[in-house]
Symmetry: C2
Subunit: 566 residues, 2 copies
């Protein structure tokens, strides 16, 4: 439906339209995977925004961005919507390169108000006239970046509309003091002094409206638009995550993200199991997460040891400092987090944890490409940004069994440890783990050795070696399970003339570069394979590895070349 | 004075003692440099804390940490205090390795409440009994990390004392909505509903007390200590930055940090000059800073173009997203920041600026070792954590003249650019700058070439080359002015067998590693010099370069070895 059609439609027509959108989202996500509950919750709200405002002249920034499906369906992308999250298809997040209706790319939490302020300020400086909207959930509202943006509303002296989509959920239920205030507001008959939470920053507070009820939300949006003439506005809307589908409404956390296929064995399951077992023997062990208890496998720990388990909301930085301080006082924190989100706590990893050489163990999930979520969710930088930090040990298990060993080993370490791993893996078997020691997995008389890091790259290497050996070319395989410290003893001792490195991390600053530098005056040849120097879009893990990452054909070609050179 | 002596002293004795401390701080900082105004402001408050609480059993976390001098004088370090900020002397910041009275290391803003919560939670889990205090200024209160910590007070369910040291200043005057609320509170006769700013998080608010008046602050601290039995407390104290020295009180921004010697020519001056000149011709140019207008040289721009100049407070992340959004709407933001503080915005540099390939120019000051502030202020990671990010160009000017050229060039770029430079430099001369192109500075028939990045490393290289040439060894010198993209054309074309790289960045992930990887199959030998893989303490720039960084003697030895090998 075009903007004009939306404006002309009756409420009952709009309601019917919303049901069609809901069905379209449900059907597509069932096949393609994606964010379900969050998108089902904001159908009426988004239809309302598209009726009351004029996109793309007006601009909207979606915080996190996983709730933009209705927006995409309303902005000329309905014909391609079935390609959602497929390679070269529609992204599950806003993308400026995809549509002029997408004003600003998001993926991580808490950026929307800052971004809306920047867009609005640019508008003012250019003397243009349009409205800028930030649509933000109550989960994101916990993030420190939001507070920094609110604090600068008066400094920047511009007008934006913040639509607070309050559904009581992050991926996990929203936690913390701010959330309690929102709950209090929702329970009150009349606006309470809690409104000061927003008014102190110069916002006109308008609320609370049922965001799933068009008859309530449409006039509210109209009033908010009028109020924008005199200053920035916060429109407080409640929605129901998963609205319209009973199983989503009842389990909004489990239906936040849907996978089209049943996942295989996951590293996160092992994390939960091992932490519970370790904690039983060691009272110092605590677990920390930034609003992702289930996805990271921490549920068993949270249930068994609630007093030693901390979900601090979408606050990756605070979770890091909290972990550092717990460790400074003798505890052994395990901070589980997605690779891409740990970027948000980079300074705290350096300044608080590694700077004080504190025994915090980072359990870094979704390392390597994570797939269909695209650019903002790939975990392809961690080996680079972690290996450069003094005092930090960086480990890459070859399988889940080795991951378990590394976790057990971590309890004996006196400094920080990062273990990074993909979502899915195989249990496999593992021998022993010595910190900083590689492991020869397959030894053959050959002039070629592959150092591969992590389960995916080892699988790739094994496939390539099988082919090479069928051609009569022997290749030795090493499990390069520590990006730092490098196993320089093994690097010195190996006699092969040709060294091939494989990692599912960008090449710049990765393990291949470190090995190349170490061997650069040894007379050996080093060929490194990893992810290209670009942002990697959405697609399947297999597609992305082949197109952007270490590629089996290229590695095989390299082996043949080495062999031919002799 | 010991804790016991402090407890036994009369108010007038304490007042006299405070004057002695003030004099000690002033005399030491006058000779050694350091943070003056911030330390003079908290003398009475710190004496009060040491009388009312029992350190080191009780723990205190100093936010930022630059206000800990009185604490150091009161905790057994008075005999060594004259070594302040000298190599192997007393650090200007809290250091756990220096004293058991220092509970937690700080240096960057906003960590104290998170850290205090972690310490308190560990105390509870261990069943111990002591008090935990976070001493935080109103400037730090703007930082998002503080909000994340406040939000989790109720989640963590522990008791801490937050002492808010409200002096109305960051380094620049404090800005923003939160600051306005504090100002309102200070103006009110009775506590206003603004107290809800803190109470909503579960804090008991106590205030407002004159932190420079012992007769007011001592009983307040006693009451706060008692109140801690029933929950966390925020004690709101006003102090006067620079208290006791008229010139400090009048110019708290200029006396925030004191250098013992007059600095030479600074890059920041050139930044201010160039930005004003560029902005005159180009209306798209805007400047962004996180509370450091003067130190970064932006004052002339702020005065000339106030409507295009944004100081958003100590909010490095928000400043990044704001810059990204301004750029997304066609503006050309110049975001000036210290190297070490940009770490705080790492995720936003990736996710918001480079991910959308937006033309934001980072003007990164205090790159390389910054000297006397120590571990938390060295700028030795930036080449590593920036070069790995797709779309970003990373430039290292050889002198101030070349810095000016790079700034002018930046206005024509269509993607993000980072220019990193030390505090002081020489104007010098510059030819032309092509993005991604190195420059041969000194050419000779030789088998040895040095690629040196930035003014300090080029100076080191020149000194070494002079000595080598006096020994009859010719060495070619190249200005490796882009860490990314590398000038692979020149790397391919150069014929020298021995390649030496010099950078004032950690070796891991730096320009030397990238060059080594690029050349690793060329038959050339690559020797890289940079900072060691450790946190670099305080000392003079010269001392730290010699001890931890690229070292002239080692480079000269390397040249002699290469020459001998032929």
């Amino acid at each position: 439906m075009t903007h004009e059609a939306l404006c002309g439609a009756s409420i009952s027509q709009l309601k019917k339209f919303c049901e069609q959108i809901r069905e379209e989202i449900f059907q597509t996500v069932a096949v393609r995977g994606g964010h379900l509950a969050s998108n089902l919750g904001v159908v009426e709200l988004t239809v309302g925004l598209h009726r009351v405002f004029s996109f793309p002249k007006d601009k909207i920034v979606f915080d996190v961005g996983h709730q933009c499906y209705t927006h995409k369906l309303l902005s000329g992308r309905e014909d391609r919507f079935f390609t959602l999250r497929q390679r070269n298809g529609i992204s599950g997040f806003p993308k400026r390169t995809e549509s002029k209706y997408d004003s600003y790319d998001t993926g991580h939490a808490g950026t929307s108000i800052s971004a809306a302020l920047g867009i609005a300020k640019a508008r003012d400086l250019k003397g243009e006239n349009f409205q800028v909207i930030a649509l933000i959930g109550d989960g994101s509202l916990n993030n420190g970046l939001v507070y920094e943006a609110l604090n600068s509303l008066k400094i920047l002296n511009t007008n934006i509309l913040i639509v607070l989509n309050d559904n009581g959920m992050s991926i996990s239920p929203t936690v913390g003091g701010t959330h309690e205030v929102l709950d209090e507001m929702k329970g009150a008959e009349v606006p309470t002094e809690d409104i000061a939470l927003f008014e102190r920053y110069g916002l006109q507070y308008m609320g609370i409206y049922n965001g799933n009820d068009l008859e309530e939300v449409l006039p509210a949006l109209e009033r908010a638009k009028k109020a924008l003439k005199t200053g920035s506005v916060l429109l407080h809307v409640t929605t129901r995550k998963g609205q319209g589908y009973a199983f989503c409404e009842q389990e909004p956390d489990r239906t936040h993200g849907i996978s089209p296929s049943k996942p295989g064995k996951e590293y996160s399951t092992a994390l939960g199991e091992e932490l519970v077992a370790l904690a039983k023997k060691d009272k110092r062990i605590v677990a920390v997460t930034a609003a992702m208890t289930d996805a990271l496998g921490l549920r068993p720990f949270f249930e068994r040891y609630p007093e030693r388990a901390f979900d601090v909301g979408i606050c990756e930085e605070h979770a890091s400092v909290l972990s550092a301080a717990l460790a400074a006082e003798g505890m052994r924190p395990y901070y589980a987090i997605y690779s891409t989100f740990l970027q948000r706590a980079f300074d705290e990893v350096i300044h608080d944890i590694c700077g004080q050489n504190l025994p915090v163990t980072f359990c870094i999930d979704r390392a390597g490409v994570s797939g269909s979520d695209g650019e903002t969710h790939q975990g392809v930088f961690d080996l680079s940004y972690l290996s450069m930090i003094p005092n930090l040990t960086v480990a890459i298990p070859k399988n889940i069994a080795e991951f378990r060993l590394m976790l057990r080993e971590s309890a004996h370490m006196n400094g920080p440890l990062a273990i990074r791993y993909p979502r899915e893996g195989t249990e496999g078997e593992a021998g022993t783990v010595d910190i900083g020691k590689f492991e020869v997995l397959h030894s053959t008389m050959s002039d070629i050795v592959i150092f591969a890091a992590g389960e995916r790259c080892l699988a790739l290497a094994r496939g390539v070696i099988e082919k090479a050996e069928s051609e009569g070319i022997g290749v030795t395989l090493v499990n390069a399970r520590f990006a730092k410290p490098l196993d320089t003893e093994m690097l010195d001792a190996r006699g092969e003339k040709y060294v091939i490195t494989i990692e599912d991390n960008v090449l710049l600053g990765g393990i291949g570069e470190a090995i190349a530098q170490y061997l650069c005056n040894s007379g050996k040849h080093v060929f490194s394979f990893g992810f290209k120097d670009c942002f990697i879009p959405h697609g399947s893990v297999r597609e992305l590895m082949e197109e952007f990452g270490p590629n089996a054909d290229e590695v095989l070609r390299c082996i043949r070349d080495c062999h031919a050179r002799g």
